[in-house]
């Protein structure tokens, strides 16, 4: 009895905790429910790069990030998937057209020279660029879409103005001549960015630096037409330019900055074409409709099940209903805690797991009834009902877990959501069926006025009743 009581306390504490969790932590909604675009970008091997490694994928991701940031979408998610894919999620974007346009195609990296007599102009533009970028960061946090778009336009105008102050070399020194780029530490906490060209690129770079050395004009390094770095060339290189195809960009970089620039340069130099291999867009209204209809379906299904259980199983059915509600609360709270992104198939998995949770109770109660019919006392029947049904419950849940696990490891995004919610649901259902239903049942059995067998098993042969009542 002592154990029952402490379990009861545990359950109550869990339920209160679950309600608090649900109230405070919202479940993030998938794009199919909140509306938005999801693009899968496939990075393809080319003649120069036969195999896409992690390093290449990371570099391409950086390029993609740069392009997405240029769009001014709030809360974009960009992640690498597998060995050659990048997943881009753009919440709230109804028309992915623009995003698709900027994302497709190979990155364009170019080293240009600053036009003469533009120093003051550049200085002014760079100052306002810094301000605009800082403002953009602020705006992103506030989520004011109109202001973001407006600021983004100003940024782009600024970019264009800056780009006009630079001119291409002849032939243009583009990313295809760049072999490698990486951040490297120098003295103290300072970092440099080292770059290395192929022979042809080395010649072009020597010409370019010879022209600029000592003039105070800068090299403009542009990635997708945006200035990412503008180093000057020291006067000592005036006679020959920087020869040998290697150079170091100095400038009090921190480790992170240097690495970032290195990855950006590498990404820009990659001659790998990217292709959008999957696009899925759901309008916001459509997403809202989906949430609504799935909530109706979920609540409708749950109510039907609750009614069925009480009608068929009487008092145990009522107890099962209580533990089903507890089950739903706990599972939902688990989603909140684990940060499970809720998608439409995910909701289906959750609703389905309610059905599974019922199964455990049905197994137990059927067993209890059987024991009652066999003439055992009420207490003993309840006890052996739980005891004997356990192995069936375990077996059936493990098989579902196996199916979920293979779905989770091998499936794609949407499918994963379903597998995760179903698996979590099945796990929680084992706990509620065995702990909640059990504790509540024993509690009910301990109340004398509830100890009527009719409450547990209608139509029990009269001969059994006398014994059971003891």
């Amino acid at each position: 009895m002592q154990r029952q009581r402490s379990l009861l306390v545990l359950i109550i504490v869990l339920v209160i905790a679950a309600i608090m969790v649900i109230a405070t932590i919202p479940v993030p909604l998938g794009l199919d429910l909140r509306g938005g675009s999801q693009l899968t970008i496939q990075v393809k091997p080319s003649e120069e790069i036969k195999e896409i490694t992690e390093r290449e994928l990371e570099a391409v991701k950086k390029v993609v990030e740069g392009r997405i940031n240029g769009l001014g979408v709030s809360e974009p998610v960009i992640q690498t998937v597998g060995t050659d894919k990048i997943l881009v999620q753009l919440p709230g974007l109804n028309d992915p057209e623009q995003a698709e346009r900027v994302l497709g195609g190979t990155a364009q990296l170019e080293f240009r020279t600053q036009k003469p007599n533009t120093e003051t102009q550049i200085f002014g533009l760079q100052v306002s660029r810094k301000e605009l970028k800082a403002k953009q960061e602020e705006l992103r946090k506030s989520n004011d879409k109109e202001a973001i778009t407006q600021n983004q336009e100003e940024l782009q105008n600024n970019n264009r103005a800056i780009a006009e102050l630079f001119e291409s070399t002849n032939p243009p020194l583009t990313g295809k001549y760049l072999k490698d780029a990486y951040g490297e530490p120098t003295q103290g906490t300072n970092w440099n960015v080292a770059i290395r060209f192929d022979p042809k690129g080395g010649e072009l770079f020597a010409d370019l630096t010879k022209k600029l050395a000592g003039t105070g004009r800068t090299i403009g390094i542009f990635l997708d037409k945006e200035l990412i770095s503008s180093p000057t060339v020291g006067v000592e290189f005036a006679p020959t330019g920087i020869t040998g195809g290697s150079a170091v960009i100095t400038g009090r970089f921190e480790a992170q900055e240097a690495n970032n620039l290195g990855v950006q340069l590498r990404g820009g130099a990659l001659p790998v074409p990217v292709e959008i291999s999957e696009r899925r867009t759901v309008g916001a209204t459509l997403g809202k409709d989906s949430i609504q209809s799935s909530i109706y379906a979920g609540i409708g299904g749950l109510i039907l099940v609750l009614i069925f259980m009480v009608v068929y199983y009487r008092l145990p059915g009522l107890i099962a209903d209580v533990s089903l509600v507890i089950y739903s609360l706990l599972t939902w709270a688990t989603f909140c805690l684990l940060g499970v992104t809720l998608t439409l198939p995910g909701i289906a998995g959750f609703i389905l797991s309610i059905g599974m949770a019922v199964d455990a109770n049905v197994l137990i109660f059927e067993r209890t009834r059987e024991e009652l019919r066999a003439g055992k006392s009420l207490y003993r029947s309840v006890e052996s009902g739980f005891h004997r049904a356990f192995s069936s419950i375990l077996d059936s849940n493990v098989t579902t877990w196996i199916a979920c696990a293979s779905l989770f490891w091998l499936g794609s995004g949407l499918v994963k959501g379903f597998a995760l919610t179903l698996a979590l649901g099945v796990g929680v259902s084992m706990f509620t069926a065995i702990t909640c239903s059990r504790t509540l049942m024993f509690l009910a059995v301990s109340i004398p006025s509830w100890r009527k067998t009719e409450l547990y098993c209608p139509k029990l042969p009269a001969s059994n009743k006398a014994e059971v009542a003891q």
Partner: protein, 318 residues
Amino acid sequence: MTLRINKARSIWWTISAAIILSGIISMVISSQNPNIKAPLRPSLDFIGGTRLQLVRDCSQPGNCDKPIDINTVREVAKDQGLGDSSIQLISENGQENGITIRTKNLETEQRTNLQNALSEKTGTFDPQKNQIDSVGPTLGRELLRSGVLALVVSFIGITIYMSFRFQLDYAIFAIVALFHDILVTVGAFSILGLVAGIEVDSLFIVALLTITGFSVNDTVVIYDRIRETIKINPDRPIADIVDDAVNQTLSRSINTTLTTLLTLTAIFLFGGETLRNFSLALIIGFLMGAYSSIFIASTLLTLWRERTGKYTIENIDN
């Protein structure tokens, strides 16, 4: 009520064989069909393509005065060189206000052109109600491969688990019953693909995997009972033991299937377009799962044990 399933087992086997056979015939016909060329009608998830779902913006005055004419839409598609696309109208609030177009995989440019041409002819669309899915052919094949792989892996996993918890012959018949359920569901969708044009997508594979879990589930409960009875009473004929086990677990089988079907029917009716075929697949599969565990898995186990002579004794009175 007691059910003597082993008496009439040839009937159950004939019924199942007939259902599965019609499914297989449908898959063959479907593979020959030039429009499908596969046992089931694949959605763009697996073969690549673009699907546009556009709904008109009725808050603009005059935009929705006339219902959309499907022939206009067809002509627009033809002008864009997409004459072979399949086009459907969607009705909303009793009027045909939306279009679904399924074409080959379109590039951004082509898609935008199509969208613009359509809105010119039929009225402006509400971007908030758009749904655009586009999958490249390579990715489609990958999705299919990983889906089928997931199925195979879970089959193997379940066989291993079952032979570890039960004996190997139990495991094998549970898998036979499972194949039965999967075959019936796949067959049913093949027929639906032929007759009603219903396509199978990634969610269909998810449904098959869920059916896998549930089907074995049902079988496990009955086998669990058979094992328990054999332990207590090893001398009884296996047919009686199995009949008893089925009857003892019958109300559980019915009630569990019923409650699960209640939730699934709710999803089917109110869960929206995306989940409709998914829940239909589950409904068919779960019904079959309950049926096969009672009528197929148990009777096969009886037959096998009678043939091999395990746990049975000769009836001396005979």
